[in-house]
Symmetry: D3
Subunit: 293 residues, 6 copies
């Protein structure tokens, strides 16, 4: 009886998001172990079956670093960004596209969904150019330095055709954040940015970013200080007063950018919690922070 | 959290019946009060939103009798069947099509579904001919008598075109059991039979008949003696040994006929229980009797 | 030979209205006896077969009053409008949807057309709200009084989706003037208004209103004073100078409103004349009054 | 009123032949003067507008002979068939395709139809091979002689694709009886045969051959001896007993062949009578001979 | 190996013009002998198979004059334009539509293309009106005279529907420059103009005019003085300074008009050179003159 | 001029294979250096642009071994098959899907094609099960041993849906030979087998296997002894008499299997030769061995 009451309670959400595109960014934390991977894939398939159009973008930082270590190559970061030489780029590509994406796609298939893995190279989905060297503040010394991160790219244009074809035919696209430049070379992209930009381009209803924190916290040391709902204007103030900072800052900026491109709401939620995507979509209060225009 | 676990538990059923047609026969008992009507409509809309194609057939005996009484006309039954003269036929038609069907359709609309009421006259959906007089046993005297029930019909042919057009365009057809003969006159049809025949013609996955008993009972006086699952062969034995008798008999015969025409399973459930349709579809054991080929 | 000459003479009209939507309002008078009903249905089917897209709206005042009398309930009118309490509303609904509409639909089927009956509840075709109490002049005493007509509605919005689906698939929709409010309750609507509003919304070519007078008469007592053709501007003058008054006034206002919403011509014709619809469409002079923008 | 009664009388025929293909063979006699041409074109357009799919095949013997005479070239026939050398073939092609077909097409356009002229060369509609020399009886001397008629062809295969594309898009194809061999050279075909073969291939409902006689006559000298209706079996007897002979024979054989390929009825009618096509289709008795399987 | 290298070299052009419409005007010179005709047809089919949408317009001046001579009728020109009386018009129509067009279409079929011949009469493709008498300078005496050229027309409107249907279904339309006036009568049109106007209407990528000169020559007496590429502005100067004059002038004006209507480039090439169309499209420099906006 | 003659010579092949599916197996040898990779991609794009539907399957043995060596893991083969433990499987997957496939896809994009990379996991394209241990003859000692190759799979079923969607929308699928079992785990598949099986399932016209030998050689030591054309029957004899042996044997068996499933011809060609695919398709004699049923 319980079962059915709850189904009935979910109906308003199912109706509201019927045939709407839902961009989901899986971080490494939704991929901790095979149970978590299977669970996240199943939740994504559930969204599809109850009528939404989920599109997945995944990251994979920890896995990349593990692979680099195996190859005796030390991962190097400046200002939180991975320095990417050609060898690193090869590893990034192999891990993201060859390992993580295929695993997500297979898990989606296992649960009855029609997953298809894509990188930015497929039909030139993500055209990118190399990021120009940037001034980065050395967080230890406080000194500024010009940094060339190597094969790290910025999105120049998105070609959504393949996403349209796939979503119209009931597939769930799974996108690796890999860009292609005009010489067919590969560039490393930020997965959050990719999710936000594609969400904006595709007219997604929601952008959901899975992280390893509960959402935006009034006091980052107090998980109980979660801000449940916030507008763009309000969150900009939170940036200015320093509440939103460090790793949360780029995520919030991605959300703002996606909202400004037409996404209806952006969500930063805790991917470590089981069924976090469903809890955010199908309950009144959700579990993370929702940002609205 | 509960909410979401249960959604996840429903996924296998949602997948299994994806894009499948589900014939539902509402009896008068699912229409006792406006809360029950609203609830049944909402459950039907939920089926649609999670990907199935529900088609509703409704009855309305008690309401018809009430209307006849208001008009100072006494309802008359022989062998459980309503004797239908022209005036009665007019009342039947007005109550079923004008009152009950419009109410179901409006309730479906209220819950976000796209209901459309149909009778057998719409695009000649249900061609029928008058039933020939039949031998009926007077249950009091035990005597046999030839009875002409008047404007009671038998289905000659079903023209499913309008149902195809509507279900392909995401509508929920709501069908009144009214037939049309070759002079455009109206005939009274049995709603269970209409549901079973249309289910067979349309290749429905399920035929669900809402009644006011828990299902087939081993001992009709003991609601605890419910038979959960039974095959055609087994239920035929139950007919022969008299377990299935009286009002249950025609329902079971309708189920057998639908199964023989290709329906995958037939269900006799208790329409008085809230969310009985959902409980039958989304739980492992269901709540009534399931008959399979 | 005659036969064929006439077919050839009809060709220019057949061409002119090819694939055009023709809104037809059947009044009670096109439904006097079964011969008239059959004839009007056949004419409607003919329009469909020679390439037009007829959409029917029907009324049913006399039949409703007859049914009320049978139930010992006296029909009550104020300012020409039916006072509609809940019981009356039930009767209105049953008569219009359950009796008149099914009969029209069956007659269309009998003549080879694909009729489908709809009320404003089907896919919420006619969303309405209760009319606020209005000042009505008592025609006997000349006194003004505030009158609440009860469950009489005004159209708030039209959802033409189901009409598009049906007409594109060669069906002839037959619409009962019943509205639905936001609580799924029923409201009594004026059939002329419904025909005019739907005609405007659907971009109909023609609105044809069948009445029991020859059209607009210069002198209402002289059937020979028929005005054959009139523009909006001219008919507004006829209203001002009192030529158009009483029962003709709301019909003319409906025509003006429909023309202003894009209908190409509105026709008020005598539904008592056999084949009046065809005579109006397929002959140079028509038989009633044509109003053009 | 007359007008409309007759439209109503035509309805059963309009319904019966709705969306059906009607093959019409225009002989030279439906093209005597520009009034006749215009009238025949208008009748064809009428068929289209009331829902049928007419396909026209035309002949043009007299016009060809006139053009040959102008060029100082004497037409030559053996056994009723035109001896066709290369120069004659050029004239045949120019007259049929360049003159007669364009005129029919323009007349169809003038009456609001969408005519498109085709010859057997368009998308290789009519693949043909040269007829082998045949034994012909000299009708004067009674002697047999082997005759090579030159560039006279027999249909090898029909490629109906272009006809399907055109009829589905509401065009009226107008076909000149010109075949193409496998070297892209032109062959002279018999127009009746072309009409019959295409009718069979396209699954036409009717084949209507316009001639300059009333139909099959019991006594060819008595126009009053018209046979209205005849089956294949009966007409074969009429062939055997010599009633069907001379110029009527090949027409009847064409009809039999078309019926055997699936055409529902074949009609031989008098093209000199105004509106003969319509009279045959829209009246109970028709005006010529109808042959049925 | 050579073969394949060249295919690979053609790839950029194949890509660039993929699914683009290419208007080709065949002059009499591409139709000198059957080898030339076959070759031009094959080249056109090749364009189709590698993904373009060729549309052919043909002329036929020399052939028309030959036919007139055969009939003992002297062709007459004033100011380079054919004086067209009714008899001449009949010959023009028969030669263009009945002879030249059918031959092109058959050759296209022979090489595996799906050619369909059209004149301006088919679905009223080219509506025209008679040219008003014009002042023409007698080139011998220098005197001006008012000249009525007879049945020579000017395009009033183009109805591209049939061209859309055919090109979307992979046919190659072959158009004879014959117009139709509002009485269904025939008018003689200039083939270059027809090609240019249709090209503009259809949004063609290229207009290619096959002539018997290498293109626009700086010095008309020196074939080596070919101008390879020129803009509208530049070619207007060439008109003003007299470089473009005589027979080249109307062709260039047609090109300018087509470019101004949206055609991307216009080409005047030498139709006497084998494969001239392909050489112009698939080589970097082409072989004639390309005019661009 | 040359250019164009050759295009014209290619026309018969372009026509013959129009809209036909062409399965191409790229071996490691078509991927030696970036020039070869670019060239092979461009040739594939050319096939698409001239109207065929290429589907690519790629291998990658040498690259996999290189990656294993980098990770300090020694590749191990038994009977020519790679022994695949879990760690090796991860490397295989990352190299094939993450490195080689993305590179091919990017190169296709660079040349204007719409490449999309797929593995057997995408929509469960290649369902596989683990190969059971097999008897393998140790080629050095001649001893037989039971060998379990680990995560090496056999194709159980192919789900071509995603390939249909992609090829119908003008994409070029690029498939990595990775299978998925019913637990969503990965299995290593033979690329030749994958190409052959998919070719058979999709009804491909051709299967082209790029290798590093000229084709089937009468005398494997003499490249001049190439067999140009051979039937299934003949090649079976070549297997029996030992002409086809070693590495060539599985390739030929794959070809035979594909032909028996309906592929029209199978080709074994030298992928080291520039434009080998085009040479095989567009020249009369081809450059390798063609096997026909």
């Amino acid at each position: 009886m319980e079962t059915v009451n709850i189904l009935v309670e979910a109906l308003p959400y199912i109706k509201k998001f019927h045939k709407k595109k839902i961009m989901i960014k899986y971080g490494g934390h939704a991929m901790i172990d095979s149970a978590a991977k299977s669970s996240t894939a199943r939740d994504t398939v559930l969204l599809k079956y109850v009528g939404m159009k989920p599109i997945v973008v995944h990251g994979g930082g920890p896995e990349i670093s593990r692979s680099m270590n195996k190859l005796g190559k030390e991962p190097k970061f400046i200002g939180g960004l991975r320095v990417t030489d050609q060898e690193t780029m090869d590893i990034v590509k192999m891990v993201l596209v060859g390992k993580i994406s295929t695993e997500i796609v297979a898990n989606i298939g296992l649960h009855g969904g029609k997953g298809v893995g894509l990188s930015g190279k497929d039909n030139l989905l993500l055209k990118a150019c190399k990021r120009s060297p940037q001034v980065v503040v050395n967080q230890e010394t406080g000194e500024e330095q010009m940094v060339d991160l190597g094969l790290v790219g910025e999105i120049e244009s998105i070609n959504p055709e393949i996403l349209d074809v796939l979503t119209e035919n009931d597939y769930i696209p799974v996108i690796s954040p890999i860009g292609v430049d005009d010489k067919a070379d590969t560039l490393n992209l930020n997965a959050d940015t990719v999710a936000g930009e594609i969400g904006g381009k595709m007219g997604a209803e929601k952008l959901i970013i899975l992280t390893d924190v509960p959402g935006i916290l009034k006091d980052p040391t107090d998980p109980g200080s979660l801000i449940k709902k916030v507008t763009i204007a309000q969150v900009k103030e939170l940036i200015e007063d320093g509440t939103v900072r460090d790793g949360m800052l780029p995520k919030v900026l991605t959300c703002i950018s996606a909202l400004e491109k037409g996404v209806k709401s952006a969500h930063i939620i805790d991917g470590r919690i089981k069924h976090s995507i469903l809890l955010e979509i199908f309950t009144k209060d959700g579990i993370g922070t929702m940002i609205t225009p």
